[in-house]
C-alpha cells in the first residue's frame, strides 16, 4: 500500500509552488505535504479553489509537538475533497526559535474558526488574521500556559492549592468575554465595582 501510487496533488503542488513545497512523504498510506509557512494560506486557497484539486472540506486543524525538543512544532491540516473523494494532509513547520505564528485559514473555511482557537489555546500558536482568537476550552484568564505543549506538566504548572485559591478568587466578569461585557456595558447593566475592575482587566492589555 505504501507509496504504490503517488498522490496526484503532490505532483501538481510541486509544479505550481516549487520550493514552497518543502517535502512530500507517505506515512501509513497517507500523503503528507510539508509547505513553507510564508505561503501556507496561498497554497491552501489554491488547493481549495483549483478545479481538479477542490479540497473543499476541511476535516481538521491541529498541531503536533514532538518529544525531541529540537524538532519544529507542526500545524496539521487534514483536507478532503467531497467531489473527488481524496484525502490530503498538509503540514507547516514552526521552528521553536521563532514566534509560533501562521496565517489563519478561517476566511477560507469557517470550520477553522474554532479549530484554530483550540490550537491557540492548547499550543500557543498565533493565527494571523483570525477574527476572534481567544482561548476556547480553557478559560480566558487561564495563566498556566499551553496544556498540550511538551514542557507543560501533566498536572499543570500551579499546585492544586494555588489552582483552588485562584478559582475561589475569581470575579464574575472573568466568566464573560470582553465582547459580552461591552454589550452589557452598552446596556448600562454593569455594576459599578465590576466596571472599575474591568479598567484593570489583564485581557485588555493582551488585545
Amino acid at each position: 500500500m505504501n507509496g504504490a501510487t503517488p498522490h496526484p496533488s503532490a505532483a501538481s503542488l510541486q509544479s505550481q509552488f516549487g520550493s514552497a513545497i518543502r517535502r512530500t512523504l507517505v506515512s501509513c498510506g497517507d500523503t503528507i505535504v510539508v509547505v513553507a509557512r510564508e505561503r501556507s494560506h496561498e497554497i491552501l486557497r489554491w488547493l481549495q479553489e483549483t478545479p481538479g484539486e477542490t479540497y473543499d472540506y476541511l476535516v481538521d486543524v491541529t498541531a503536533v509537538e514532538y518529544r525531541d525538543r529540537e524538532r519544529p512544532l507542526e500545524v496539521v491540516y487534514q483536507l478532503w475533497s467531497l467531489s473527488r473523494r481524496v484525502f490530503l494532509r498538509v503540514k507547516i513547520e514552526l521552528p521553536k526559535d521563532q514566534p509560533l505564528e501562521v496565517d489563519s485559514v478561517a476566511d477560507l473555511w469557517r470550520a477553522a474558526d474554532w479549530l484554530e482557537r483550540e490550537v491557540f489555546d492548547m499550543f500557543g500558536v498565533t493565527f494571523r488574521g483570525h477574527p476572534d482568537l481567544r482561548r476556547i476550552l480553557m478559560w480566558e484568564t487561564y495563566a498556566e500556559g499551553y496544556p498540550l505543549r511538551k514542557d507543560f506538566p501533566l498536572r499543570g504548572r500551579f499546585s492544586r492549592a494555588e489552582q483552588v485559591r485562584q478559582a475561589l478568587a475569581i470575579e464574575p466578569e472573568s466568566n464573560y468575554s470582553l465582547e459580552e461585557l461591552s454589550i452589557a456595558r452598552a446596556q448600562g447593566a454593569l455594576p459599578a465595582d465590576m466596571r472599575e475592575r474591568l479598567e484593570k482587566d489583564p485581557r485588555r492589555r493582551v488585545r
Partner: protein, 425 residues
C-alpha cells in the same frame, strides 16, 4: 425621555351592575393606550447547568425581545485533557478514555481507536473481528440516535417519545452489558482484536431486538412525523445551506440534512462497509425537521446493516495471531513461560508503534470521528488528536440560531446532537 414609564392596572372591581354581577374592568394601561416599552437588548446566560443544553454547555445570548440577536457559546466546563493523558498511556490504555469522550456511542469510539492504532502498526484484523466491529458501530448509531430523538422530543415538550426511545436504548445496553460487562463505558476493542467475543446466544437475542425495534420506530414516527406541533417547532427552524454546512465542516446527519451526500461508510469505506447493502438518507431543507428525518432513517438502515452482519458473522478467532500485540489467554499466561513473558512485556512496556502517523476517520452517529496518532517509535503516542464531530458541528450554532426565537434556540441546539464529553474532551 423624562416621564417615568408606569403600568397601572385597574384591578379593582368598582361595583356591581344592574343584575348584581361584579363589573369587569378590562385589564389595560392607565393613560396612553401604547406604553413606551424599552427597546434595549438583553444579555442572558443559559447554562452551564441547564437540562436543555445537553450537558455543561453555556450560551450567552443577546436578546431583542424574544428574538436571538447573538449566541456566544462557552465551552470547556468538562475539559479533562484526554489528548494530553493519551500521550502518557499505551495504545490499549487509551481505549477507556475514548469511552468517556462521546459516552453515548462508546463502542464506535473504541472501534475507531483500535483502527487508528492498527493502521499505525500495520495490523490486519480477523474476519470475525471485522463483522463484530460493524455490529458495535451500528449498535452505537442506534443507541446514540435514540438518545437524540428522546432528548430532542422532551426539549420540545413530547414526553412519550423520550420514554419509548429510552426503553429501546436500555435493551441495547443490556446486550452490551452481556458482551462487555459494562453498559456505558464498554472498552470493547483492543488493538488487533476485541476485548471479548459475544457470549453464547447473544446473536439470537440481538435478532429478537432487531425484529421488534422497527415497530418502535414506527410508533415514534406516528407520534412526531406528521404532528402539527412538531412540524411547527422544527420545519424551517435552524436552516443551514449546503455551502455553509461544508464551509463549517459539519459532518454526519447535520451535513446530510443539508443535502450533501457525504458518508464515510460509502465515500472512504472501512470495515468492509462497501459490501453491505444500505442507503444513506439525505435531506434537502437543512432544518431541524430534516435532521430528525435523517436520523430516523439512519436507525432503520442501521437495523438492516445489523441483520446483514449477523447473517455473515463468520466463525474463527477474534484476535490476530500475534503475541506481540495481543495478550495471551489468562490460563496460558499462568502456566506457560513464553506466554508469561509476552504478557509481562506487553503490560510493562506496551506495544511499540513504528515511527509515523495515522489518521482514521469513521462515520460515528454524530459525524466524522477522527483519531490522529503520531508515533516516535515508542509504546506511547507523541500526539493523540481527537477530531470531535460535535465540537465542529456546534460551531455552526450561532449561524443557525441568530434571528430565531429563544425557544427555537433550544430546538436548534438539540438538533445538533452534541455531547459535551466529546466537545470539551
Amino acid at each position: 425621555m423624562g416621564e417615568k414609564r408606569t403600568l397601572e392596572l385597574a384591578l379593582a372591581t368598582p361595583g356591581v351592575d344592574a343584575s348584581g354581577r361584579p363589573v369587569r374592568v378590562p385589564l389595560g394601561v392607565a393613560g396612553d393606550a401604547e406604553p413606551e416599552l424599552s427597546t434595549e437588548n438583553m444579555l442572558i446566560n443559559i447554562g452551564p447547568q441547564h437540562p436543555a443544553t445537553h450537558g455543561v454547555l453555556r450560551l450567552v445570548v443577546e436578546l431583542d425581545g424574544e428574538v436571538v440577536v447573538r449566541v456566544i457559546p462557552h465551552l470547556g466546563y468538562l475539559h479533562s485533557g484526554f489528548e494530553k493523558l493519551g500521550e502518557y498511556r499505551h495504545y490499549n490504555q487509551i481505549i477507556p478514555l475514548t469511552d468517556r469522550t462521546d459516552y453515548l456511542s462508546a463502542p464506535a469510539n473504541n472501534v475507531c481507536l483500535a483502527m487508528a492504532a492498527e493502521k499505525l502498526m500495520g495490523v490486519r484484523i480477523t474476519p470475525r473481528c471485522t463483522v463484530l466491529r460493524v455490529i458495535a458501530c451500528e449498535l452505537s448509531r442506534v443507541m446514540s440516535h435514540l438518545v437524540w430523538a428522546g432528548t430532542t422530543a422532551i426539549d420540545l415538550g413530547a414526553f412519550t417519545v423520550f420514554l419509548w426511545t429510552w426503553q429501546e436504548r436500555e435493551k441495547i445496553y443490556d446486550l452490551l452489558e452481556e458482551w462487555s460487562g459494562a453498559r456505558l463505558t464498554t472498552s470493547l476493542t483492543r488493538v488487533g482484536g476485541m476485548m471479548a467475543d459475544v457470549p453464547d446466544g447473544w446473536t439470537g437475542r440481538l435478532r429478537t431486538f432487531l425484529a421488534k425495534f422497527p415497530g418502535v420506530l414506527d410508533e415514534v414516527d406516528t407520534m412526531l412525523t406528521r404532528n402539527g406541533i412538531w412540524l411547527g417547532r422544527t420545519q424551517d427552524v435552524g436552516f443551514i445551506s449546503a455551502a455553509d454546512a461544508i464551509s463549517y465542516g459539519l459532518s454526519g446527519p447535520m451535513l446530510r440534512a443539508s443535502g450533501v451526500a457525504h458518508d464515510l461508510r460509502k465515500d472512504r469505506p472501512y470495515l468492509d462497509y462497501e459490501t453491505y447493502d444500505f442507503e444513506v438518507p439525505v435531506g434537502e431543507h437543512g432544518d431541524v425537521y430534516d435532521r430528525y428525518l435523517v436520523r430516523m432513517e439512519e436507525m432503520r438502515q442501521a437495523t438492516r446493516i445489523l441483520e446483514q452482519a449477523l447473517d455473515r458473522l463468520p466463525d474463527g478467532p477474534i484476535n490476530v495471531d500475534d503475541p506481540h500485540v495481543i495478550l495471551p489467554a489468562k490460563h496460558r499466561a499462568m502456566s506457560d513461560m513464553e506466554a508469561m513473558i509476552y504478557h509481562f512485556k506487553q503490560i510493562m512496556e506496551g506495544v511499540p508503534a513504528p515511527v509515523g502517523e495515522a489518521y482514521v476517520g469513521i462515520e460515528n452517529p454524530k459525524g466524522e470521528l477522527g483519531y490522529y496518532f503520531v508515533s516516535d517509535g515508542s509504546a506511547k503516542p507523541v500526539r493523540w488528536r481527537i477530531r470531535p464531530p460535535s465540537f465542529i458541528n456546534l460551531a455552526a450554532l450561532p449561524l443557525m440560531a441568530e434571528g430565531h426565537l429563544l425557544s427555537d434556540l433550544i430546538a436548534i441546539n438539540a438538533s445538533v446532537d452534541i455531547v459535551m464529553g466529546e466537545i470539551d474532551r
